[in-house]
């Protein structure tokens, strides 16, 4: 967990995976509280495969 930006309802949570990939998650402030998330704490990021959009690099 590298950064938590708290808004009125949601928080933007930045994390870096063990191998260095940066992931951004938007979760509710309630969830931040419930999970006890803080900068430096460990968490897993779960992404359902059907939510992933693929774009060939050659098209960019």
């Amino acid at each position: 967990m590298t950064k938590i930006d708290k808004g009125a309802v949601n928080s933007e949570v930045d994390l870096t995976t063990a191998s260095g990939t940066a992931i951004v998650a938007i979760i509710t402030n309630n969830s931040v509280e419930a999970l006890g998330l803080k900068v430096g704490s460990k968490a897993s990021a779960l992404i359902k495969a059907s939510w992933v959009i693929l774009e060939p690099a050659s098209m960019a």
Binding site: E12, V13, L15, T17, S19, G20, T21, I23, V24, A25, I26, I27, S31, L35, G36, L37, S41, K42, A43, S44, A45, L46, I47, K48, A49, S50, W51, V52, I53, L54, E55, P56, A57, S58, M59, A60
Partner: protein, 69 residues
């Protein structure tokens, strides 16, 4: 193209498993992590995706679920 999605991860297609309607695409990210994507057969054909192709995996931040032990 500019995207509003906060997560645009670069990777390479490892393998493609095709079904009747959908295809499961295994992507190896630049950092070494493995990511699976489910896309339609139509998209697979439209993008001409095959093993070895460089891709961007796009994930909207609100689609990420966080878990703690």
């Amino acid at each position: 193209m500019k995207l509003s999605a906060r997560n645009v991860l670069t990777g390479t297609v490892d393998s493609v498993a095709e079904g009747a309607v959908n295809a499961e695409v295994a992507v190896r990210l630049a950092g070494g992590e493995k990511l699976q994507a489910i896309i339609t057969e139509n998209s697979l054909k439209g993008l001409h995706l095959k093993a070895g192709d460089k891709v961007f995996a796009v994930i909207k931040a609100s689609s990420v679920i966080l878990a703690v032990e």
